[in-house]
Amino acid sequence: MAYLTEKFGPAIGFHSVAGEVAGPAKVPAVKARGVVQGAKARKRMAQAGTFLYGLPLLGLFFLLWEIAPRLGWLNRIFFPPLSEVLVAWWDLLASGVLIEHIGISLQRAAIGFALGVVVAIPLGLLMGRYALFEKVSDLLVQTLRNTSQFALLPVFILLLGIGEESKVAITFYSSVFFLLVNTISGVKSVDPLLIKAARSMGTSDFDLFRKVILPASIPSIVAGARLAVKSSLFAVIGAEMLAAKSGLGFLIQNSQLMMETADMYAGILTLTVIGLTVNYLLVWFERWATAWKGQSETSLI
């Protein structure tokens, strides 16, 4: 030991910090980035691979859709071939009708969801943090949460009329509980040690919410938001089918009543495309918002 120190003493003494950090760390840092990049590329390849594997079956489905009505396996009036649906879809798109309906539906869903965020996150922070608050409100929340939003549509219409308000109300109702429940569980799972550390630095109650509890809960809140966005999209379509004069739901429902089945399927396809797009956007947002966790395990489902 003494010999070692004699020989390497100053070097160890001086580099001791660097020994673990500055010196070799630079090498692993570069290496790590390389590894991460390799992993990323591999992951992308794997994802592309999964996509490619899935293509034949999807293609088969579309092919069946095209030929079944043509061969008379399905009634062509109720089930037009895919090509006719696509033509109808193009016509709807070109005339601007489709865009209008999409815009209205998305707007309703977005307003309802935004209201859900504004209400659920502050409420969830309080309910998750203060046991008494949750004890008092939990039963009411559970009761409301387990009441179907569609069952409540007549109530919303009675209270708010047939106009936009009732649609926004149902999308709000469909999203708020996903957000609320996930915010509460996010707050409850904040590492108590982080709260202790924050308190040891003299963090005020307000700052504790803003700078510790909220950011720590973000992964859970964002996961809830994914569900909430989907739920409010579904709800707005349902509401538009039941009581509306515009929106994608109305387009689908109305086309069915008018026996314009190609338009109906065009509307349904549009919904599918919107659903897929929104899901990808949300997954991307979730990865971005939780980048600090390292590589995300979020799947696309």
Binding site: A2, A22, K26, L193, M201, G202, K293
Partner: protein
Amino acid sequence: MDRIVVSDIKKTFQLKPGQFVTVDGEATDRVTVLDGVDLSIRKGEFITLVGPSGSGKSVLLDIIGGLTQATGGDVQLDGRRITRPDPKTGYVFQQYALFPWRTALANIEYALEVRGVGKAERTATARHLLSLFGLAGFEDRFPNQLSGGMQQRVAIARALASNPEVLLMDEPFAALDQQTRELLQGELLRIWGKIKTTVIFVTHSIDEAIFLADRVVVMTARPGAVKEIIDIDLPRPRDGDIRASAAFNDYRARVWDVLRDEVNKAQKDWTLSPAFSH
């Protein structure tokens, strides 16, 4: 001059309804972890606390840090009674307790942010501290991109950011491997030598306690109290070699001598341990 005066601190925990432990053959839902701790700590002194598991070392540190209220007695910092976290106190935890969503730099800045220090000043301070700990160039790394030793350096830097007069350290190096541990001990002494803040350092390691301390405080088994205080009269600055010296060996034997009975007592008390896993 005494910076911290701990007088007759008692701490009793009330267990949750339905939970019981056996103390001296009797079931009870109340457990006394500290029973009359007296301790005076001088300004700029490096104190290490050793004691068997469950002797309330960490609880005592929490009380001094203002994070837990004592059941009896009081702690004074510069003559003022501590009831909540004092801005003059920095705290370092065994599990680093860094905010995972903040970069190394932003973690250190946090300590200044909540005290209302302006952006430019807190960034400058945080950068300076990172370089002091040999972490220049790692400003933008998130905690999960740093090794345990680096994370604990960031955590110590964060505790020092507000220029505390007292640094409380709760087994800060216990989760690190032996080499990193000794490295950080040396580093801590180097930095402490510059800033001369008062340090209270809880550890399970007798070697660590002796190597760092001006005085080693040995606690009794639960309920905890001060059993003996041993002055460590080793020259400073100290380097790793000192561990091999005869004087160090003598201290090791002495501390272990004092500690042995208490550890044996604590071993017999193992039925209690599940209730004190924290």
